[in-house]
């Protein structure tokens, strides 16, 4: 597994994070397993998006550090970091009229100097990314004219053109119907299996997370409640603790991954309402 050995390791140590006057995460340690798909789940406001933002260097930690191969990421150049770690945030915006190909091309930024011209390699990577996400036919179309599912593929293609070894995604399936959610997750899994890209996804949909993740990180109130393979981690006790939800957990009849079924009439107080 040499591809996985050479993949950089992203880790958080003694992390404290949040906003001025409000600490969301305190004393958090996490090692992202290289070459695997890790999904971060938890109730609203449990700190999962904050954690992803700090891992992606969107905001600096209040204390502790994020490490890439043992080096504090705050010491790395921003473009250098972006060549290794890509981010697909929740609400990216595209200017009106911008074509698919040109939006995907913007993913090449970390690989080019400010005064450096577009290269043949840049074209090759962008073509690959579009072919791979099935967008070649749509290359000249304005992004604004596409459907929600197609648009999400465009953003993923942009992240692919960036060619990162670690890709972080914040709820990439929000606002998509079920079949498009599956399409996006299939695409990400194929990316992980063929290129060995480490993928970290914040996801709301528990059963899809259990189906697609190699590892689950379950968060509650800024702490990690459980971390491991979905079948080990997703127990009624953990679901109850993280989501304040009384649920039955049984193997998915098709994939044998855990399936969370809320008990009718059972307790389901929002976890943040205590």
């Amino acid at each position: 597994m040499s591809a996985i050995d050479s993949t950089p390791r992203l880790a958080a140590r003694g992390l404290k994070a949040g906003y001025p006057g409000r600490t969301v995460i305190e004393g958090l340690d996490l090692e992202i397993t290289p070459g695997r798909i890790t999904m971060i789940i938890g109730a609203n406001a449990c700190g999962k998006s904050t954690l992803l933002g700090v891992l992606a260097r969107l905001r600096p930690p209040l204390a502790g550090r994020v490490e890439l191969d043992g080096k504090d990421v705050a010491t790395l150049s921003r473009r250098g970091f972006a060549r290794t770690v890509g981010l697909l945030p929740q609400h990216p915006t595209a200017p009106d009229g911008l074509s698919v190909a040109e939006l995907v091309s913007r993913g090449r930024h970390p690989h080019r100097g400010v005064f450096q011209r577009w290269s043949a390699t840049d074209s090759e990577r962008v073509d690959e990314a579009m072919a791979w996400t099935g967008l070649t036919e749509l290359a000249d179309r304005p992004v604004g004219d596409l459907s929600g599912g197609q648009r999400q593929r465009v953003w993923i293609a942009m992240a692919l053109a960036q060619d990162p070894q670690i890709l972080l995604l914040d709820e990439p399936t929000t606002f998509l119907d079920l079949s498009h959610q599956l399409e996006v997750l299939d695409l990400l899994r194929e990316l992980n299996r063929t290129r060995g890209t480490t993928i970290v996804i914040v996801l709301h949909e528990l059963n899809l997370a259990a189906r697609y993740a190699d590892e689950l990180v379950v968060m509650s109130q800024g702490r990690i409640v459980a971390h491991g393979a979905p079948s080990d981690v997703l127990t009624p006790a953990v679901v109850s603790e993280a989501f304040a939800l009384e649920a039955l957990v049984m193997p998915d009849p098709l994939t044998r991954t855990p399936l969370v079924i809320p008990v009718p009439g059972g307790a389901h107080a929002p976890a943040d309402a205590n």
């Binding site: 945030p89 915006t93 200017p95 009106d96 190909a101 993913g107 930024h109 690959e128 072919a131 304005p142």
Partner: protein, 349 residues
């Protein structure tokens, strides 16, 4: 591996799209440059001593008589050059601010930068009795102060430019109030001088002023090129831009700083010429389409707009020369109303 299999059929898709965008850009630039050239030719030809195209051509190549030389090189050329350079500077400033704030209403005049220059210049003129280069310096300083205030106001925010724009509109009104106060207290003749400066005028431009604005424009080129590279990424939102290794905070400083430098320098010599910075990118962007920033095209459109406005200012009313600011103001206001009506509330960017 399917990644390789799927990739790169002969004829790259992205190259095809890029070259289509490129061809359109070149075509638009050529057309706008042609319009600018024609306007420049007209500006050099007409006037109290009209020149035929042949006469003008001969004079430009050093074959003109003494009167022709004087009229072309001493009277009309500096005025034309100032219109071109200031128009380009304002067009670039507008394009930078509109791209950064993703708002077609962002422009240095609406953000209060010109207002700051006006207050400082009118104060220097009326209270301190300053004229000439020192007046220009005061105007520049005033614009800079406002820009620093704006950057401080917009620093805390994560995304979008609404706070910056609202702060700018507030500052604009404050500046108008201060200028009015100064004018009301001044003697009539002095107030007259101040009002002429305030409307913006290109008449009696000496070459050194043209050279100064041109030098500042040339010095800004690296910052403009860097902005043109970063702004398309900043437009994708704070988080996406950061994920691609772009520090949106730094982009904001570079783009706003450059826009202020260009606006304040122009304002220092020709007064706060309104609406060119607003209109130029609004014309350039739809011509280019495809989500382009249109910084270079905006520069050329701005140069054409100001040259055309100055022609109107000089010759529209027989016997009277209007300050060019009156013309840009009137044309610009109409254009702004049309823009609001036509875009139906949709963001243009």
């Amino acid at each position: 591996m399917s990644v390789q299999e799927a990739a790169v059929a002969p004829g790259s898709a992205v190259e095809a799209v890029r070259s289509r965008t490129h061809r359109r850009g070149v075509l638009v630039l050529a057309i706008v440059a042609g319009v600018t050239l024609v306007l420049a030719g007209v500006a050099l030809s007409i006037g109290d001593y009209p020149l035929s195209p042949e006469q003008l051509w001969r004079t430009l190549w050093g074959g003109g008589g003494r009167i022709e030389d004087y009229v072309v090189f001493r009277v009309r050329m500096p005025r034309l050059a100032m219109a071109l350079v200031v128009g380009a500077a304002l067009g670039i400033a507008g394009a930078l601010l509109q791209s950064l704030l993703r708002n077609p209403l962002a422009s240095p005049d609406l953000l209060g930068i010109s207002g700051g220059s006006s207050v400082a210049a009118v104060f220097a003129l009326l209270v301190l009795g300053t004229t000439g280069p020192l007046l220009a310096l005061a105007a520049f300083g005033g614009g800079l102060v406002i820009a620093i205030l704006l950057l401080a106001a917009g620093r805390a925010q994560i995304d979008g430019g609404y706070r910056l724009i609202l702060a700018g509109i507030g500052i604009s009104f404050l500046c108008i109030a201060v200028v009015d106060f100064l004018l009301v207290r001044a003697k009539v003749e002095q107030a007259q001088m101040a009002v002429v400066w305030l409307t913006g005028s290109l008449s009696s431009t000496p070459w050194w002023q043209v050279a100064t604005v041109a030098a500042v424009l040339a010095a800004s080129v690296p910052a403009i090129v860097a902005s043109a590279r970063w702004l398309p990424l900043a437009q994708l939102g704070h988080a996406t831009a950061n994920g691609l290794g772009v520090r949106t905070g730094a982009v904001r400083y570079v783009a706003v700083g450059t826009a202020v430098l260009l606006t304040a320098t122009s304002c220092a010599f020709v007064g706060p010429i309104s609406f060119v910075a607003l209109c130029a990118p609004a014309i350039a962007r739809p011509l280019l389409g495809r989500g382009a920033l249109g910084i270079g095209t905006s520069a050329l459109v701005g140069a054409s707009l100001l040259t055309a406005a100055d022609l109107v200012a000089q010759y529209a009313l027989p016997g009277t020369q209007l300050p060019v600011g009156v013309v840009t103001g009137a044309l610009g206001a109409a254009f702004l109303l049309w823009l609001l009506a036509a875009s139906k509330g949709r963001q243009l960017l």
